[in-house]
């Protein structure tokens, strides 16, 4: 109670200065808050300043990463092969963990140095000048490839496999230092390492798996001198005149002057030819006759003008028999005779006499063989026509190759004997055709002569001068050695029991010809005689070619298509194992690209870009999308200057067209005038492609001189289930065209190369190759399930296909076809502090 009483007395004491204390307390607290707030603001400002530095460094880091990634998108493969060799190694097939592969420090250093060059020019970002000047620094650049999986983990029959093709992630990081702040920007993108060679068909200059009938390529009328017989009208499947052959030039190389050539590597680096069998199992390529100028005619069956005594009949010179053991030249009745043969191509018109019967009118068919018991009819004239395809080049540019088929060449042979005595001067003496069967060989017989005037007839004995039997048989053997092969044009004979394997026949196409001499090609007189032992010792690269020269060769030299292996070139980047060396193994005839590509199973592992046009129903819109997705207009800064469309990027592009479009419907049109400065493969599904203008790798003519094509820039056009059409302005095509979709049940009615306006007004001029399911003529129109005509119908003027060796999976240049394709967008981009 006392204490309560004293409280009021204390109040004045407590009240004294109370307000001041409260005010001080409030302001102290307020001050603390304000100072704290201020400190926070100051810290925030410092942080913002750092954020500004961070943002600047990040933007510069992102720019730098983008520049590096874009450089990879432009193509850096030659450097990568040197500086990141592990990238080009086959990925482990054992399912082991993904590999990583760093780009070498020297290249990363070059990137860093160049980026620093740019950073040194960013004067505006400096906060201080003069002594305190501080520009951003690029302190580190790294590029790592994380290899995730092989596109072809295992080898399968009938499937293309490049063991180096793979997918993975490319990680590019760049560290930028700016005012003491170091920021590392890392971008990750998917990449694909894929070859721009679509498949095994690219091994071939011409790849045509289906042939309607054995004589489907026999369509070209030829004059005796090799010029095209424009008056000849081929009857199948409907009357049509062909104005020129389709010449295959299987290499860019011309004659190799003065250089010894290795046959194996020579053939390895050339484009081959695959002409699939007909339902009768083989096809005939009838060789054309000719000796005309370098710009015309077939190169083979000719003699240079003026070689023959009277200048009229040009024939291959006779063989000198170098066989003294069988040819008793010391006998009393020896006369200096030569026995020889004249190999002739087919022709429908001669420069004298009967214009309508061609070679047949010259009696080059044995009367016992054909025509049987009847007269030669003008409707049979087609049998004198030759092949529209010249797989061996032409006289201007002979081009050695290997044909897979089976393909047989047809030609005509006439045997003759020539007396070297001064009184006998004519070359055209003593034809006897074909060689007599062995059983009927009678040295006492007189050689039958063909034609008139042939006054001289010889006894075999007078030619061979053999002692009496049993050595007579040796004389016959000698005759066979002189003329070991003959294609007998018996139309009723089953194939392939007739004809000569193409590879055997053209095995001798070796390049010892000098470009300026006018000697016949091949130079028989320069070569050892067929009868010489030296001839047997000459290397030949066609399998069984030596065997083929034996008495009963059983059609050697045929390369059937059933079991074909295409090997990758041996190199440091491909492990030398059987599996990794195989690019393809299987039947070319049954090869199905849509299945190989993965379309049939809904997975297209090699594809790098997909353009989905399935929702579009306007053709113009579709074509614009295709054009803008794949190409860009050229500028004067481009090599080709303005006026062209240039591929926007390399890659394997898969274009999904509307499903309701079928072959024969709306075509996907490629823009006019494409200049290739990089490689790409365009695969479309549903419908046809139209090439509306030139596609070229060479610069336009300047001063009348065109630059040579750049083979390393590859373009492949592959409609999976459609045809390829050439527009009237598509005169020069530097691309591999592959309308390769098979016909029904692997037979007739497959995809083709066709002219948009038939017939094509120009000659074909393709630098690359052609793989079409079928190109040959049907015997009757009704046999063709489609009514669009065939490639031969579309291009009666023929033309030339020059093989681009960069498409060759077996050539050393193949590794240059492998391209690193980097995705357009990052999977992830992150910025973080760096030390």
């Amino acid at each position: 109670m006392n204490r309560l009483k004293t409280t009021p007395e204390l109040i004045p004491i407590l009240r004294r200065g109370f307000l001041l204390w409260v005010a001080l307390l409030v302001f102290f607290v307020l001050g603390v808050f304000v100072f704290t707030f201020n400190q926070l603001v100051v810290n925030q400002n410092i942080r913002t300043h750092h954020e500004l530095l961070v943002q600047t460094a990040d933007l510069l880091g992102q720019s730098s990463v983008q520049l590096i990634v874009n450089r990879f998108k432009q193509g850096l493969e030659p450097i990568l092969r040197q500086e990141a060799p592990a990238l080009f190694q086959p990925i482990s097939t054992t399912g082991a963990e993904p590999k990583e592969c760093d780009l070498s420090a020297s290249i990363c250093g070059q990137f860093k140095s160049e980026i620093q060059t740019f950073l040194n020019q960013l004067d505006e970002v400096q906060f201080f000048k003069g002594l305190f000047k501080h520009l951003p620094n690029c302190t580190d650049v790294r590029v790592v490839f994380r290899l995730q999986k092989s596109i072809h983990p295992t080898f399968s029959i009938q499937q293309t496999r490049d063991p180096v093709e793979k997918k993975g992630e490319m990680i590019v990081s760049c560290t930028i230092e700016f005012h003491g702040i170091s920021r590392k920007v890392t971008a990750t993108r998917h990449f694909s390492l894929v070859s721009m060679v679509p498949g095994p068909f690219c091994r071939f200059t011409l790849y045509a798996p289906f042939s309607p009938w054995p004589h489907c390529y026999t369509a070209l009328g030829i004059c005796y001198n090799g010029e095209v017989d424009t008056k000849y009208e081929h009857p199948f499947p409907q009357p049509q005149s062909f104005k020129g052959p389709l010449i295959l030039n299987n290499s860019l190389e011309k004659f190799d002057i003065g250089k010894s050539r290795d046959d194996e590597s020579d053939l390895q680096n050339r484009g081959w030819v695959f002409i699939g069998p007909s339902p009768d199992e083989a096809v005939f390529l009838k060789i054309s006759n000719g000796y005309n100028s370098y710009s015309g005619g077939s190169f083979h069956f000719m003699m240079p003008p003026g070689t023959s005594p009277n200048g009229k009949y040009k024939v291959i010179p006779p063989e000198v028999i170098e066989d003294p053991s069988n040819f008793n030249q010391n006998a009393a009745d020896f006369k200096p005779y030569l026995i020889g043969k004249q190999m002739m191509g087919f022709y429908t018109q001669v420069d004298y006499g009967n214009q309508q019967l061609g070679a047949a009118a010259m009696g080059l068919w044995d009367k016992d063989l054909w025509p049987k018991n009847g007269n030669w009819l003008s409707t049979d004239r087609w049998r004198c026509a030759c092949s529209w395809i010249y797989p061996y080049g032409n006289m201007a540019n002979p081009s050695r190759t290997l044909i897979i088929g089976p393909v047989l060449v047809g030609f005509l042979v006439a045997y003759f004997a020539r007396n070297l005595a001064p009184e006998v001067t004519s070359w055209q003496k003593g034809f006897f055709s074909p060689p007599p069967p062995k059983d009927s060989y009678n040295p006492e017989d007189r050689i039958s002569s063909v034609g008139d005037p042939f006054p001289i007839a010889f006894r075999y004995r007078s030619v061979f001068l053999q002692p009496p039997p049993p050595s007579l048989a040796q004389g016959y053997t000698s005759l066979e050695r002189v003329s070991p092969w003959c294609s007998i044009s018996n139309p009723d004979a089953p194939v392939p029991t007739e004809g000569i394997a193409f590879n055997t026949f053209f095995d001798f196409m070796r390049y010892d010809k000098q470009p300026d001499d006018k000697k016949p090609f091949p130079d028989y007189q320069g070569e050892p005689s067929l009868a010489s032992a030296k001839y047997d010792q000459k290397p030949r690269c066609v399998p069984n070619s030596i065997l083929a020269r034996e008495t009963n060769p059983n059609i050697p030299g045929l390369h059937p298509s059933e079991d074909v292996k295409i090997l990758l070139p041996k190199s440091n980047t491909v492990e030398d194992t059987n599996q990794d060396q195989l690019y393809f193994h299987g039947s070319l005839r049954e090869y199905n690209f849509p299945i190989d590509f993965g379309y049939a199973v809904g997975a297209v592992p090699r594809v790098t870009h997909i353009l989905d046009l399935q929702m579009l129903d306007d053709a113009d819109q579709e074509n614009d999308r295709v054009r803008d997705f794949l190409f860009r207009p050229s500028t004067e800064r481009d090599e080709c200057k303005t006026g062209f469309w240039i591929p926007r990027r390399s890659g394997i592009f898969y274009i999904l067209r509307p499903k309701d479009i079928k072959s024969g419907g709306k075509k996907m049109v490629l823009p006019k005038n494409i200049f290739l400065d990089k490689s790409l493969m365009i695969v479309s599904i549903h419908g046809d492609m139209l090439i509306s203008g030139d596609i070229t790798t060479s610069l336009p003519e300047t001063g009348g001189i065109e630059t040579p094509p750049k083979g390393e820039n590859l373009l492949s056009l592959i409609p999976l289930d459609g045809d390829i059409y050439l527009g009237p302005e598509a005169k020069k095509i530097h691309a591999y065209l592959a309308p390769i979709g098979p016909g029904r049940e692997g037979g007739a009615g497959g995809n083709r190369l066709l002219a948009d306006q038939k017939p094509f007004s120009n000659k074909l001029d393709i630098f690359g190759g052609l793989a079409a399911w079928e190109i040959g003529l049907y015997k009757t129109a009704g046999e063709d399930p489609r009514d669009c005509g065939t490639t031969m119908n579309s291009f009666p003027k023929g033309g030339m296909i020059t093989y681009n060796p960069y498409f060759n999976p077996s050539a050393p240049t193949y590794e240059e076809s492998r391209k690193l394709i980097v995705d357009d967008l990052h999977i992830e981009q992150k910025s973080e502090g760096a030390q």
């Binding site: 004045p12 730098s64 740019f118 303005t642």
Partner: protein
């Protein structure tokens, strides 16, 4: 009822006390208010700088993504009757385009690239800017690359993204500059 001791014993504060208190309050609150004001201003600086970073980043990201396609945009910009193709600097420094970029709408802006009077298909999508921002523009300069360029024979450009703002109506203009590097064929 109020206690009796309050009625009889309570006296008010003296004038001297009040004056001293007011004086002390004055002494203390002045600097505090000043400090608070400064802090508030500094907070605005941070805020606008962050906004500027956002605006700049928006442009930078789009330009970098567009970089591989500039050739197509430039080709579209080219006058078919002229032999020369505009450069990236011509494109990005076009007055009409920069007016679009600068636009101070309250809505998202599609700033279409333009060259001369020709409006192109490509555009930048830009956020509306805070009302204090006065300028959003680009400044482009060519960069000199090394003689043997590992980055390829391209044209390289320094693009400065510049933003300006005023924190108060009549206050000084603040600015920030963000550089990026672009390359085009």
């Amino acid at each position: 009822m109020m206690p009796s001791f309050f009625l009889h014993r309570i006296r008010g504060f003296s004038m001297a006390e009040i004056m001293v208190a007011v004086f002390i309050v004055g002494l203390i609150i002045g600097p505090l208010v000043l400090l608070l004001n400064q802090s508030t201003q500094k907070t605005n600086v941070s805020m606008y700088l962050f906004l500027a970073m956002h605006y700049a980043d928006e442009i930078a990201q789009q330009l970098q993504r567009m970089a591989p396609h500039f050739d197509q945009i430039l080709a579209e910009a080219k006058d078919p009757t002229s032999q020369t193709t505009p450069t990236l600097r011509d494109l990005l420094m076009d007055g009409n385009f920069l007016n679009e970029v600068k636009k101070l709408d309250n809505n998202f802006t599609l700033a279409f690239f333009q060259f001369g009077a020709k409006k192109l298909q490509a555009c930048l999508m830009l956020s509306p800017m805070d009302g204090h921002f006065k300028t959003r523009t680009l400044d482009v300069y060519p960069l000199v690359s090394q003689t043997s360029s590992i980055l390829g024979q391209k044209n390289f450009w320094k693009v400065n993204i510049i933003l300006e703002w005023k924190e108060i109506q009549n206050g000084p203009t603040q600015s920030a500059l963000f550089p990026i590097i672009l390359g085009n064929p």
